[in-house]
Amino acid sequence: MTRRHDFAAIAVWSVAALCLIAFAPDANGQVVATDGLAIVVHRANPIDTLTLRELRRIFMLDTQTWPHGRKITVVLREKGQPERAEAIRLICGLSEPDFERHILYQTFRGSIDRAPRSIQSASAMLRFIFNTPGAIGYVRADEVDDTVKVLQIDGLLPGDAKYPLRRAARAGKGSVPAW
């Protein structure tokens, strides 16, 4: 009875877990919230909101200084990680290679004195932001904690319905977003 029962148990628990993951957001009516890309800055940063345009200029290293004068440090995930490409695509509307070429170009032009910093995980992203006053980065909206400040983009927070930085394809049931 043992082996058959084991499989049955595993199956039951797996289904239960999946159901929990799939239906939990639905249960509290925040289904889309997990799909947003939260833009985070140092908590001491006076900026609360950016337009998507301003955000893009920052990530494209066109804007390099915060209004209060501090240099802006853009923080991305590491090269090769899907979250990097996804974020570049969402924020800058570029593929990752295009973005890299843009950065290289800007660097050679000498118009930038610092390249974006690369961080290998979401938690490191948060900690980096926490430690760096001029930094700006991103994490998945459900990964945000209070060590960082989440910026409004176009006046919207990641949980809002019209929040711009979310994946084009809506996340269906059972699918895991790949940021």
Partner: protein, 738 residues
């Protein structure tokens, strides 16, 4: 009697209490010492612990701050943001640790002296952390140059300030620690000193306690002895008074209070001489004892009169002895009430007087008896002598002889009894006169000559040439010799009786030895010791020989009075030798003495008629008893003499006044005036002064003789008068007159 042991038990309880107290104290002290030492050790350990922790804290703060900066420097050496983040976070973690250390453990360093130092460190650290955060920010932002620059400018500077602050804190902390350790050590030292003092104090207290205890014990012993002595003093029945050198009373016993009716309260502190003697004797008492500075070696003893408070007086003896109490001279006066002693002395004196009176009475009785017995005997014997001298027919002659013999025996008995009584009463006195032993020997031989002749015995004597005249009582010596000789003749039937006289001169004295030897029956050895006991004769059968058995006893006692002895040497059936010795002073030789050493043969014939028969003597016989007068007259007639008669003293005086007498025979005891008074009157001139007056007396005491001589008499004849005695007296008187 107080036994030392019986007094111990009540002392044992305090001893146990003291022991318990000491034990408890020692335990308590031990506990205190242990606790204090432990607390002190704990304090020290905690102090060191705290210092070690504080030191370690400071060190770890220092290390962690170093770590913070070191990690930060690592971050500067990489371009990788992830690595930089790691270092930044590590640096932050180290910083947080420093912060935690500084905040959480600050209590360790929280004392007034180190608080400011700690605050400085915290402040400096905060300053540095600001810079450090900025540097981290710059690094993570990728601005390494700015980061390095900032770090090298502000960072290093502020970090140096932190290190300086920590160094100062450490120095301050260590100084404080050193100070506290010193204080602790000081406190420990103080504690130790205090404990030592407590221990010493306890030991001291114990020692003092033991000392006090022993002292109390000793004191109690002394008090017990004192009480004992006090009770002895109080128990003494005689008054004992203790005074100082001036006679102020210090102490007196119950007997003194009683005897002088002197309450202690009154007596103490007052002069003793003002209280116990009458006013007239105070000076003497005070002079005898008081006012001298030095103790006297011997007890002072005076007899005086004691006076009680009620004024009654009694004889007393006060004996005082001194001793020094410290430097004070103390008199101890011992009072003896002499009332009893005086009474005893009085009793003794009266008893003595009574005894003397009794003795006098006894002597008087003896004298009276002597007189009363001899007076009739004088007549009997005298008449018998006279009858014997008459030419009577044979039957009558025989009767007269028996009468004479019996009377003589009776007279001898009376004499013996009187002699013996006199000796026993101690009344026999000796009258030493110079005399020749030859005379005495010859006189002693006379009475036995007749009997010896009748028994056919040889009777002889030998006197050694060197025997001198002596001064002794010749009457007594003669008496002894007569006794020995009559015994010898009495107990010897055949053979001889011989007297041998020898002498040993020793300076002015001579020891005369007179041996009387016979060849008689002898005396058995076992009976010899009885010889000198009174009333004893060897053989009851010898009673027929007469005598009361007093002879040898009397002789022996007289010989002792003469300073000599009588011994006997005899064998049964082989005769006896009695040896009589006496010592006496040597008398000067008399010219009339016949040459010594002449050997006379037995003289059994009657002595020749004395020459004075042819002479014409005028004699007055004074005698109140007519019978006695008659006897004496007859005796004088036998001697061819006549005499005038006087029947009383007055008559004698009267006759003596009218006629001159050559010889007056004066009876002593007479009714009107006695012979002594009569003699005194005659000598006083009422009669012939030249007459020889002889007393006729039965009182043959020596005192009588002295009285006779004192009255003026020339001698005396002892009653009863015997013919040969009278003749001898007349013979001796006649020669100087002729």
């Amino acid at each position: 009697m107080v036994r030392a042991g019986s007094a111990r038990p009540h002392l044992r309880y305090p001893a146990i209490a003291v022991l318990a107290a000491v034990t408890v104290t020692v335990l308590a002290l031990g506990w205190i010492v242990a606790t204090d030492l432990r607390r002190s050790a704990d304090d020290t350990r905690q102090l060191y612990d705290r210092f070690a922790k504080g030191d370690a804290l400071i060190d770890s703060v220092l290390i962690e701050t170093e770590e913070v900066r070191r990690i930060l420097l690592y971050a500067l050496h990489t371009l990788d943001a992830n690595r930089q983040l790691e270092y930044a976070e590590q640096s932050r973690a180290a910083e947080a640790k420093v912060q935690r250390l500084l905040e959480s453990q600050s209590a360790l360093l929280a004392n007034p002296r180190t608080r400011s130092g700690l605050q400085t460190v915290i402040e400096a650290w905060k300053q540095y952390v600001v810079v450090r955060d900025e540097v981290i920010g710059l690094i993570l932002e990728g601005s390494l140059k700015e980061g390095v620059a900032l770090d090298q400018q502000d960072g290093e500077q502020r970090f140096a300030a932190v290190r300086r602050a920590i160094g100062e804190l450490k120095a301050s902390f260590e100084a404080d620690a050193a100070k506290q350790v010193a204080e602790q050590r000081e406190r420990a030292d103080r504690d130790l000193t205090r404990l030592s003092l407590m221990v010493v104090a306890t030991l001291l207290a114990t020692a003092i306690g033991i000392y006090l205890f022993h002292r109390r014990e000793a004191l109690e012993g002394v008090l017990r002895i004192e009480a004992h002595k006090g009770s002895i003093l109080q128990a003494v029945p005689n008054p004992i008074i203790s005074t100082d050198a001036d006679g102020l009373v210090i102490e007196l016993n119950d007997a003194a209070e009683r005897t002088f009716q002197l309450p202690r309260a009154v007596a103490l502190g007052r002069r003793i001489d003002e209280m116990i003697v009458p006013a007239r004797d105070r000076e003497a008492l005070a002079r005898a004892f008081f006012g001298r500075g030095q103790p006297s070696a011997a007890a002072v003893r005076i007899e005086t009169i004691g006076e009680r408070r009620d004024g009654t007086q009694f004889p007393m003896e006060v004996a005082g002895a001194t001793h020094l109490a410290g430097r004070d001279l103390i008199w101890t006066l011992h009072v003896a009430d002499l009332t009893d002693r005086r009474q005893a002395e009085e009793h003794l004196r009266r008893a003595k007087e009574a005894a003397e009176a009794a003795t006098r009475v006894k002597g008087d009785f003896l004298a009276t008896m002597s007189h009363e017995l001899r007076t009739p005997l004088t007549s009997v014997v005298g008449i018998a002598d006279l009858l014997d001298a008459k030419m009577l027919a044979a039957p009558e002659r025989e009767l007269v002889r028996r009468l004479r013999s019996s009377a003589t025996t009776l007279l001898s008995l009376v004499n013996d009894v009187l002699d013996y009584s006199r000796i026993e009463a101690g009344l026999m006195a000796l009258t030493p006169v110079p005399f020749s032993l030859r005379t005495v020997i010859e006189q002693a031989l006379d009475p036995v000559t007749e009997l010896a002749a009748r028994k056919g015995l040889d009777l002889r004597y030998v006197i050694e040439p060197d025997v001198p005249r002596v001064v002794a009582d010749q009457d007594r010596i003669r008496q002894i010799l007569i006794n020995l000789l009559s015994n010898a003749v009495k107990f010897t039937d055949t053979g001889e009786v011989a007297v041998r006289v020898g002498a040993r001169t020793d300076g002015e004295r001579v020891t005369v030895t007179i041996g009387v030897h016979d060849t008689g029956v002898g005396i058995p050895a076992h009976l010899q010791h009885k010889l000198f006991q009174r009333f004893s004769q060897i053989d009851a059968a010898d009673r027929q020989l007469g005598g009361a058995g007093l002879g040898l006893a009397i002789s022996e006692r007289i010989s002792r009075l003469l300073g000599g002895s009588i011994t006997v040497d005899s064998r049964d059936g082989h005769g006896s030798t009695f040896t009589f010795t006496f010592t006496a002073p040597i008398a000067p030789p008399a010219p009339l003495d016949s040459p010594a050493g002449a050997l006379r043969g037995p003289d059994v014939t009657t002595p020749e008629q004395p020459p004075f028969a042819a002479q014409s003597l005028t004699i007055l016989l004074v005698e109140d008893n007519e019978a006695n007068r008659r006897v004496v007259l007859l005796m004088l007639a036998e001697l061819g003499l006549t005499a005038d008669e006087a029947a009383s003293g007055l008559e004698a005086v009267e006759r003596a006044r009218h006629r001159r007498y050559d010889l007056i025979l004066m009876d002593v005891q007479m009714p009107d005036i006695d012979g002594l008074e009569a003699t005194r009157r005659i000598r006083a001139g009422e009669g012939d002064l030249k007459a020889i007056i002889l007393a006729l007396t039965a009182n043959v005491m020596e005192s009588d003789e002295a009285r006779c001589r004192a009255a003026g008499m020339n001698g005396y004849l002892s009653k009863p008068i015997r013919l040969n005695t009278l003749e001898a007296a007349l013979t001796s008187l006649a020669s100087p007159r002729s």
